[in-house]
């Protein structure tokens, strides 16, 4: 079969999502999905088109043990929670455009913290996590778009005392970035009161503190 034929691709994607593609044809098509972004895109479009049908069915509340079984399967070790982030970030004069939350969790053996930057109800802009075992800060641009050629986003932490410290230029357009920081900087981060994002010239602020406007600010919420 010629899968490059758009009409055929469209038909197979539709029948795959509906569920009428089966047996060897279904397996072949799943192989094709792994290999081709065009095929995946056609499937996603059909998922979006047909899923509204499900709204015709009355909701069914699952029994409580289902969640417990799921928890047992995906969280094999006992939940251990630690609290690092406390308090609130207050940046005098900062232009706060977004409600930003930060939350803490500690899966298994690794202590991590995640800053989740969002504009109200919309898709998150960035997700930031810190692994204190490896000293790595991981930033993912979920929906943050590039500014223009001569402006970038720069991430800052607000230590309990003293001036903001740079955590580097932030990725955009779906990219992710992993950076490693010194133990001294990580210690400051553990007790920091917040995160902030400023707009800077390419390469970042020419001075040790933000030179451009602070456009997003992380309010650190303990959960």
């Amino acid at each position: 079969m010629n899968y490059e034929n758009p009409e055929l691709l469209e038909r197979l994607a539709a029948e795959y999502v509906l569920g009428t593609l089966h047996g060897a044809a279904r397996r072949r098509f799943e192989g094709l999905m792994l290999a081709s972004p065009n095929v995946r895109a056609a499937v996603i479009e059909w998922e979006n088109r047909l899923s509204g049908l499900a709204s015709a069915l009355p909701d069914q509340q699952p029994s409580e043990r289902i969640w417990q079984d799921i928890e047992r399967r995906v969280f094999p070790e006992k939940d251990r929670t630690t609290y690092f982030w406390r308090g609130r970030a207050i940046l005098a004069g900062a232009l706060i455009l977004a409600l930003v939350t930060l939350f803490v969790f500690a899966p298994q053996t690794v202590e991590r913290e995640v800053a989740f930057v969002s504009e109200g109800n919309a898709t998150p802009l960035w997700v930031v996590s810190v692994n204190f075992d490896t000293g790595e800060l991981y930033t993912r641009a979920v929906s943050a778009k590039a500014l223009d050629l001569d402006r970038v986003y720069q991430l800052w932490m607000l230590p309990q005392e003293g001036a903001p410290r740079s955590l580097g230029i932030m990725p955009v357009d779906g990219r992710t970035q992993t950076q490693r920081f010194s133990p001294a900087l990580l210690d400051l981060l553990k007790t920091a009161t917040g995160l902030a994002v400023s707009i800077e010239p390419p390469g970042g602020s020419p001075i040790p503190t933000p030179s451009g406007p602070v456009v997003y600010q992380a309010e650190l919420i303990e959960i």
Binding site: S51, L53, S55, L57, D59, F116, P124, V127
Partner: protein
Amino acid sequence: MVDVSDAALLARVALGDRGAFQTLYRRTSPRLLAIALSMLQDRTQAEDVLQEAYVKVWYSADMFDAAKGEVVPWMIAIVRHLAIDRLRKTKPPDIDRMPEDGYSPQLGEDSQRLQECLETLESEQRQSIFAAFFQGLTHHEIAARFEVPIGTIKSRVRRGLKALKGCLET
């Protein structure tokens, strides 16, 4: 986390946030169970599939394409494929329990365009699509249900889907 979007929750899940995962479960599981139950017609099996689906969501959250996909449709697809896998392994469903010929589901407010477009299809096309979506029936089973040759059903499904897409794009 009441105001957080599904996409935001899933992004947190991708980073291993258990609280976000539980919130996503509470928010979406009644709808997903309804679909599994509609297809499998058995609560125990439907709840098994629901559990499988959330385990899959946890482990594949970072595969979700936030640029093109929508969270609930993606999760619905996961549940439906797991339910279909189970249906294909077990004995053929009881076609007498299928909805009547005139089955006409009332979709939610967010799906009114889909409802309108479904109503533009020929009744036989619509019924074949419903039998596949809500019951997870194969072409063969739909043909047996409506007592027509399989070629007729294949063509109804194909034309129905094509017409539906055409309508939704206008």
